[in-house]
C-alpha cells in the first residue's frame, strides 16, 4: 500500500484533483458506453412490441369489419406502420 491514511489517498500528494478527475471521467465514459446501447435495445424492443400489439388489434378489428361486410385494406395498415 502506497498510502498511510485514507486522507493521504484522497490527496494523492498535491495531485488529488488531477488523478480523481481522470478516474471519474473514465468511469463516466465507460458506463455511458455500456448503458446507452442497453437503453437503445430496450427502446427498440418496446417500439416493436407496441407495433405488434397494434397489428394484432387491427387484425381483430378486421374480423369484426368483415362480419359487417367491410373489407380490410392491408395496405393502409402497412402504410401507417412505416416510421
Amino acid at each position: 500500500m502506497s498510502f498511510n491514511s485514507f486522507a493521504e489517498f484522497l490527496q494523492m500528494g498535491e495531485h488529488g484533483v488531477f488523478v480523481w478527475s481522470c478516474y471519474g471521467i473514465t468511469l463516466v465514459v465507460l458506463l455511458v458506453n455500456i448503458l446507452r446501447p442497453l437503453q437503445l435495445k430496450s427502446a427498440i424492443l418496446r417500439a416493436r412490441r407496441q407495433a405488434l400489439v397494434q397489428e394484432n388489434a387491427r387484425e381483430g378489428n378486421c374480423e369484426i369489419n368483415q362480419t359487417h361486410g367491410q373489407a380490410h385494406d392491408p395496405l393502409a395498415s402497412q402504410g401507417q406502420e412505416t416510421p
Binding site: 498510502f3 488523478v19 481522470c22 478516474y23 465507460l30 435495445k41 424492443l45
Partner: protein, 248 residues
C-alpha cells in the same frame, strides 16, 4: 478449414451474431469488470508513486490504455470497413457503424486525461505537437465517420462511403505511433513495445497491462452491445425479431 469457413459464414449473419454474442456477453462483461477493478485498485493504491511525478503518474493507468485502445479501435473499425467493401458482409457494415461512437469517446477520453496529466507534469494542458495533434485528428476521423453516415439516407451508399473514409483514415495511425520519434515533442515515447522489456518496474507495468487488457475487453463488450441494438433496429421487421419480442 471448411469448418472454420462455415463457422465464419454463420457468424456473418446478423441473427447468428445476435445469438452468439448474447451467450458471450455475460462472460466478457464479467472479465472486463474484473480486470478494470483489479487494475484500477492496484494502480491507485498499491503501485509505487513515480520518483519524478509523484502520484499524478497514477493517471497513466487510465490514459495509456485509453490511448492504445483509441488507435486499436480505429484499426478494428477500418478492418471491418475493408471486409465490408470486399465481401459486402452486412454485419461488417454494422460493425463499422457501431465502432465509431465508442472509438470517438475513447479517443476523447485519451485526450482529456492526457490534458489533465499534462497540467501538473508539463505545466500546460495542451501543446500543438505531433502526438497530440495526430490524436486529435483521430477523434475527427471517428466523428467524420459518424457524421457521414448520418448525413446519407441510403444505407448502402452510406455504408460504402463511411467504409472508404475509415480506410483512408488509416494513414493517420503510423503518424500517431511514430510521432514521438519523428518530431520533437513533450510526450514521452511508448510505454510498451513487443520487443523490449518495459522501462518501468513490474509493480507499475503489471497493473498497466491489466488495465490495457480490461480496456480491450470493455471495447468488445460495448461493441457487441451496440451491434446487437443496431441488428434489432435493422431487422425489426423480420420474423425472428417478432418472435423475440413475443417471447420476452
Amino acid at each position: 478449414m471448411i469448418h472454420v469457413w462455415k463457422w465464419l459464414h454463420r457468424l456473418g449473419s446478423p441473427r447468428s451474431f445476435f445469438d452468439l454474442s448474447g451467450r458471450w456477453l455475460p462472460w466478457l462483461g464479467f472479465l472486463a469488470g474484473a480486470l478494470l477493478i483489479v487494475g484500477a485498485v492496484w494502480g491507485l493504491l498499491f503501485a509505487p508513486q513515480d520518483y519524478q511525478q509523484g502520484n499524478s503518474a497514477r493517471i497513466m493507468y487510465v490514459h495509456v490504455p485509453a490511448s492504445i485502445l483509441a488507435q486499436s479501435s480505429y484499426m478494428m473499425m477500418a478492418s471491418a470497413a475493408l471486409v465490408f467493401l470486399v465481401w459486402r458482409i452486412k454485419l461488417a457494415d454494422i460493425a463499422v457503424q457501431c465502432a465509431a461512437p465508442i472509438g470517438a469517446s475513447i479517443t476523447l477520453l485519451a485526450l482529456v486525461t492526457g490534458a489533465i496529466w499534462g497540467k501538473p507534469t508539463w505545466g500546460t494542458w495542451w501543446v500543438w505537437d505531433a502526438r497530440l495533434t495526430s490524436t486529435l485528428v483521430l477523434l475527427f476521423l471517428f466523428l467524420g465517420v459518424i457524421a457521414l453516415r448520418s448525413a446519407m439516407d441510403n444505407r448502402d451508399a452510406a455504408g460504402r462511403a463511411t467504409a472508404v473514409l475509415a480506410l483512408v483514415g488509416v494513414v493517420n495511425l503510423p503518424i500517431i505511433k511514430y510521432s514521438v520519434d519523428w518530431w520533437f515533442t513533450l510526450h514521452q515515447p511508448s510505454s510498451f513495445s513487443l520487443t523490449e522489456k518495459p522501462a518501468m518496474p513490474a509493480e507499475m507495468w503489471l497493473p498497466l497491462l491489466i488495465m490495457v487488457l480490461g480496456f480491450y475487453t470493455f471495447f468488445f463488450v460495448a461493441w457487441m452491445l451496440r451491434m446487437r441494438a443496431e441488428i434489432l433496429q435493422r431487422e425489426s421487421r423480420t420474423q425472428w425479431v417478432s418472435d423475440l419480442v413475443r417471447d420476452s
